[in-house]
């Protein structure tokens, strides 16, 4: 028995929202204030790593198409990898700021996975529109972690990085065709099925 599609989007959206809010708080109060309690430094990288681990059950249990399985696998790996690198940077296990490029790579790979696994046009149906939007948002927003890796004190990069997660969370909350009011955008997609 599998729960409906929307639930997983909402659950991961909640995870990304928490992660984004942590980053927004850090961007607002500044890193020094945010890290006065040491555990706070581990909060958002730990969440990213945990969300990556939790993506593996999604990949393995929902195998109704190869493409989705591969996309979920890609998200699991880049989330785990990017979270792990950020945790290691906080802990001091990794020193070079170039490691922050891993997050930029994770954004790019995640965005590409969204775009590749959605082969319909933007206005085919709501989920198609949001998949395109998610993909391009992540690809464009990859510039924020890129800037963070060369200018760690940039407020614009920190704010943009934090807001990207909040925006991703909002898109994921809206991603499924559940309520009839949203419906399909194209008649080719047929009547709403839930």
């Amino acid at each position: 028995m599998q729960p409906p599609a929307e639930h997983v989007h909402w659950l991961f959206a909640t995870g990304f929202l928490l992660l984004g809010l942590c980053l927004v708080a850090e961007a607002v109060v500044g890193t020094e204030v945010w890290r006065r309690r040491a555990w706070r430094a581990y909060l958002w990288p730990g969440l990213a790593f945990g969300l990556g681990v939790l993506m593996w059950p999604v990949m393995t249990f929902f195998t109704n198409s190869t493409l989705h399985m591969l996309a979920h696998g890609a998200w699991a790996e880049v989330l785990m990898g990017a979270g792990a690198v950020e945790l290691a940077l906080v802990r001091g296990k990794l020193q070079s700021p170039a490691w922050r490029l891993m997050m930029a790579a994770a954004f790019a790979v995640s965005g590409l996975a969204f775009l590749v696994h959605e082969q319909n046009t933007w206005f085919f149906q709501r989920s198609s529109f949001l998949h395109h939007l998610l993909g391009w948002t992540l690809l464009v927003a990859a510039v924020f972690p890129l800037v963070r890796s060369v200018r760690p004190r940039s407020h614009v990069a920190a704010a943009g990085f934090a807001l990207t997660f909040v925006v991703i969370a909002v898109f994921l909350y809206c991603d499924r065709d559940v309520a009839p009011v949203f419906g399909h955008l194209s008649p080719l997609a047929g009547p709403p099925h839930r």
């Binding site: 997983v8 989007h9 681990v53 109704n64 190869t66």
Partner: protein, 413 residues
């Protein structure tokens, strides 16, 4: 209160759910691998979305040939095919339909009429493991050796913190185990579904997950994702407390290969054959993974620890070789009851090649045991010992390659 909120949030995140855009098969009649007592009049497939008809949307096969399907109709989310009267036996249904989102979705399932249904991996048209699958299986063995053998070496032999290269090797092993596992699953699915690459992307893999192989794929993927996380946490926190569960979980999930291979599925298999197969594979992983750590971590980076680790590894290797021999001989007798099977069957001939290579590896290890161990124990220098250890590990890896061919070969009935 704060703790309760954190726990509730984490619990909510743990529950996964479905995420698909195109038509997904919800149920079929007859069901996946169902055994029915009378010939079914129709095959029905129910989807979660509306679908459009395609030519030959349902094709029916007996174990020998394709059978004609007199009528196929689509009504809303349901695809139905009227069937001819079927004799007792196993049947394969291959289907494809145009999903509401414009993609062609495809799949396969099997059922049996007064007979057991074939596994999807043995559906009509499936040709069995290919050379690519042999190579992937070998990479799977190598990854497991790097991961499980590396952890075993750290905990049972070195018993002290090792340089970061240890984590780099075991971490790579964990990463490779996960990815090679996915590749192995997709290659099996490709053979069962018999689809070109473009259509395989929209192929329904769910029947595969209901096989023993699929269940093992799910368990091993989740298990090794947890192992990867634990290895990372051990590196991050410098705490051994994460390494023990990682090692034990890894060792436990290695059994997945034993529970889905010949030792579990073929005639004569029992819990004893499964246990022997697991012990055989685990011992090989510990031996080869340990040799890699010894040659590429301890020897170049920890000169002061060479003596103690070499002597400790020598003791572990002796146990591993004993387990490998005992389990291997038991499994060989089980799968090849007649001695002549060794040269008269393909499986037997591969086993002979493997045995010859294993003998070479044992001889190499024996040389280390008889010549190098006493010298190292006396603190005498042994020239080119590191190269020799690396050479032994290479032979072990070649043994794993032949073992991959052996696992994918069919033993004589």
């Amino acid at each position: 209160m704060r703790r309760a909120v954190i726990v509730a949030t984490l619990c909510a995140l743990v529950v996964p759910a479905q995420a698909f855009a195109h038509a997904t098969l919800e149920r079929t009649s007859p069901g996946f691998q169902q055994r029915v007592s009378v010939s079914p009049g129709t095959v029905t497939l129910r989807f979660d979305q509306y679908i459009e008809p395609l030519p030959h949307a349902v094709r029916l096969y007996s174990t020998r040939r394709e059978l004609s399907v007199p009528e196929i109709r689509i009504k809303g989310r349901e695809l139905a095919a009227r069937l001819p009267r079927l004799r007792a036996g196993g049947y394969t249904v291959r289907w494809h339909a145009l999903s509401g989102d414009g993609h062609v979705v495809s799949g396969v399932f099997t059922f049996g009429v007064r007979a057991p249904a074939p596994q999807p991996t043995q559906a009509f048209g499936a040709s069995g493991p290919t050379r690519t699958e042999d190579v992937v299986r070998w990479l799977y063995f190598l990854s497991l050796a790097l991961l499980v053998g590396g952890l075993g070496f750290r905990l049972l032999v070195a018993r002290r913190p090792l340089p970061n290269r240890f984590f780099a090797i075991t971490g790579f092993g964990a990463f490779a185990t996960l990815n090679v596992g996915v590749a192995a699953f997709l290659l099996r699915a490709e053979d069962a579904l018999q689809l070109p690459f473009g259509r395989l992307l929209y192929g329904d893999l769910s029947p595969m997950t209901r096989t023993r192989f699929g269940a093992v794929f799910i368990a091993m993927t989740l298990g090794f994702a947890a192992v990867a996380a634990l290895v990372f946490l051990a590196w991050l926190s410098d705490r051994d407390v994460f390494l023990w569960p990682a090692f034990l979980l890894g060792l436990g999930f290695v059994s997945g290969l034993s529970l889905s291979g010949h030792s579990a599925a073929d005639a004569g298999s029992s819990w004893k054959s499964e246990l022997a197969d697991w012990a055989h594979l685990s011992a090989a992983c510990l031996w080869i993974g340990g040799l890699v750590q010894l040659a590429f971590v301890v020897w170049p980076l920890l000169p002061d620890a060479r003596r103690t680790t070499f002597l400790a590894f020598s003791r572990l290797a002796t146990v591993c070789v004993g387990v490998l021999l005992l389990a291997g001989v038991y499994l060989a007798i089980l799968r090849l009851p007649d001695v002549s099977d060794l040269w008269s069957t393909g499986y037997g001939r591969i086993l002979l090649v493997k045995s010859a290579l294993v003998a070479l590896a044992f001889a190499w290890g024996g040389l280390h045991k008889l010549r190098a161990v006493p010298a190292v124990a006396r603190d005498s220098a042994v020239p080119r010992l590191r190269a020799s250890i690396a050479g032994e590990s290479m032979v072990g890896m070649i043994v794993l390659l032949v073992a991959a061919f052996l696992v994918n070969a069919k033993p004589p009935a």
